[in-house]
Symmetry: C2
Subunit: 391 residues, 2 copies
């Protein structure tokens, strides 16, 4: 499902990207990315975290996105620039100004995204020098897209890119995210690009439709970040204007692909878990039940132990804030229905959880609402990574 040969944001026509070592990270790894839309169009839309504690780059980018137009996005790892007050906002602003200077556009045409430790100021001059360095490295090659995807990794172990090709136009994307992933948008920075020719309002609606069923359905640890940002840039270079639904479908395809990549690379993951709820009174109820099961620590530790403990699934479904009739509740794990009508059915030893993929199906028997949430198990490695790493 992943993009062949590392294709990502530079796959659609009209885009260049770069990823460089700015020196923000003490480790000396790549830490600054730049994605530039060379047009002819500059339509853009974005979705941001709903956390009330918003990072400085989120506050900046929300402002510039009100125009529905962007020339470029600057992204850095090595520091979230969150809880950094007016000084942090000035750094985000200066970053956009620097990009505008080297790209010969206005700062209002530059979005900024950051990821890393909350609460520390970014080294402003280091970031600004990094922007110059990245601008000099801009290229439209697949390698350049991969470099950008690599430069925003934190606890990610692999760079994450995806492409959806259509007749004459395409959508590309990159993302990062491995922890602090939930509950309504995966913690992440993601840039999607398309060479479709699109009006801002259409792009905005299509992006929201795509995010709702992709990034919004990934929940690794229930923690909503201060920095979540998904930006889409449309260059119009293909000269093709797809219908809104067609555009939304292509954005969804790329976003779902990227969400699956984040699930597979989540902190400490040993199982890729899909929680599918059917028969709910509504789609909203299905999402609530699936999310509650997906976030339950006892369910997640049981899955880490390859234990088909359906009772914990039933208990989690039962405390979800949604309609539920215990006597209609079925729980199926990897194809074996262990609970039917709220009581034990097949023998739990029949459910084989030895593999890396686990499908937990919850049938509520109430209506036609359904939804899937992607999550992971809760492992020793998750505890290790998050107790030993200040992030």
């Amino acid at each position: 499902m992943s993009a062949p040969s590392g294709q990502g944001v530079t796959a659609p026509r009209g885009f260049r990207a770069a990823g460089v070592i700015a020196g923000i990270k003490a480790s000396g790894r790549p830490d600054l990315a730049l994605v530039v839309n060379d047009g002819p169009g500059q339509t853009a839309a974005a979705v941001f975290t709903r956390n009330k504690v918003k990072a400085a780059p989120v506050l900046w980018s929300q402002q510039v996105l009100t125009t529905g137009r962007l020339k470029a996005v600057v992204l850095n790892s090595g520091g979230a620039n969150a809880c950094t007050g007016p000084e942090g906002f000035r750094t985000a602003h200066a970053t956009a100004e620097k990009a505008a200077e080297v790209l010969q556009c206005g700062a209002i045409e530059v979005a900024v995204c950051s990821t890393g430790l909350i609460g520390a100021q970014l080294p402003r001059e280091t970031v600004l020098a990094g922007v110059e360095k990245a601008a000099a490295a801009l290229d439209a090659t697949p390698a350049a897209g991969l470099a950008a995807a690599t430069a925003i990794m934190t606890t990610d172990t692999v760079a994450k890119q995806a492409v959806a090709a259509r007749e004459g136009w395409s959508v590309g994307g990159l993302t990062k995210g491995a922890g602090m992933i939930a509950p309504s948008m995966a913690t992440m920075l993601s840039v999607l690009t398309t060479d479709a020719a699109v009006e801002p309002e259409v792009l905005d609606r299509a992006l929201h439709a795509a995010v709702r069923v992709s990034f919004d359905r990934l929940d690794v640890d229930g923690s909503m970040s201060t920095n979540d940002t998904v930006v889409v840039l449309a260059s119009g270079a293909s000269g093709i204007t797809p219908g809104e639904e067609e555009l939304a479908a292509a954005l969804t395809e790329v976003a779902k692909d990227l969400a699956r990549q984040m699930q597979a690379d989540a902190e400490g993951v040993t199982k890729r878990v899909t929680v599918r709820v059917t028969g709910a009174a509504s789609e909203d109820d299905a999402v609530v039940v699936a999310r509650t099961v997906a976030r339950d620590s006892l369910v997640k530790t049981a899955l880490f132990g390859s234990d088909p403990n359906w009772g914990r699934v039933a208990a989690a479904a039962g405390y979800a804030d949604a309609d539920l009739d215990p006597e209609r509740l079925d729980v199926t794990i990897n194809g074996v229905t262990l609970c039917r009508g709220g009581v034990a059915a097949e023998d739990r030893s029949l459910a084989d959880l030895s593999g890396e993929d686990v499908l937990v199906e919850v049938e509520l028997g109430l209506g036609s609402g359904e939804a899937e949430i992607l999550t992971t198990d809760l492992s020793h490695a998750y505890v290790e990574e998050n107790s030993a790493y200040s992030s």
Copy 2:
């Protein structure tokens, strides 16, 4: 704070208790307890889980508690009798009938509580024989109260009892609970006793008032159980009728003591964490923010690692469903204010988290609402215990 010399439910006059090995647990450990109110009064009240998937004994006990009177409570470990359908309900009913037979009362005067694995039927005859055995062992001694507290342990490592002595009357209690503890009542079975002479309505109100600020403020893992039950029995044997507030205060004292004991013995705990929120727009908001911080996996793993990662606390507060102004947010960990007005303040290295107790204070600067939630860290041992143990 714990009861001296293991005093618990038998401390108030008019109560006998027993804990025996019925043979429900394969391990051969004590697994059935009986607490009997010898009067002269038999007033009772209870609070049950709000999980929609309720265990059979909860369904039974909810019915019998509608009378506001109880002679006895039967409690078993070794099986939750949850998701067991009509057959499981018949077992709960038969258990009450057996207790009524040996105690010469009606089944409607007997509450039943169970804890253990969800989804398996209890061995009914084993349970019934255990009730007879427990009835034969009933005694009013401290040792009998301790035996009852011991017989309901699951992953608990110590028996949990508490007493509040007043002028001429007292409140005693026992509880169990170590995991699946949250979010509105700690997962637990608890029996409180008092020799005060009380009307059912007064006892009910006083119990709810006590639970609201004690068991309801303990949140180990955010998982609400199918079996949560707190029962209070009043014998009237002291002949004293305290005022409602006085009664509620004594019940609260015992319930808070028991809640602290559950926190200290929680699965895999290495840190006892208190999250105190002040300056909230309301008490409800304070509870929501404190609970959200207390449940956040990234906060909990950071505390396990003795890392004063205030940024994760700020992020968790920010996604809580409560009023919050990022610019008024202070975060203080073990007395060191690391975040003031939403930005870094004191150096994080000044916060010493090497001890077992951690106090996380969040000041919202909005109003006078405040609340505390007791929780724990998220450790390797929690993952180990819950991935290796089917419970």
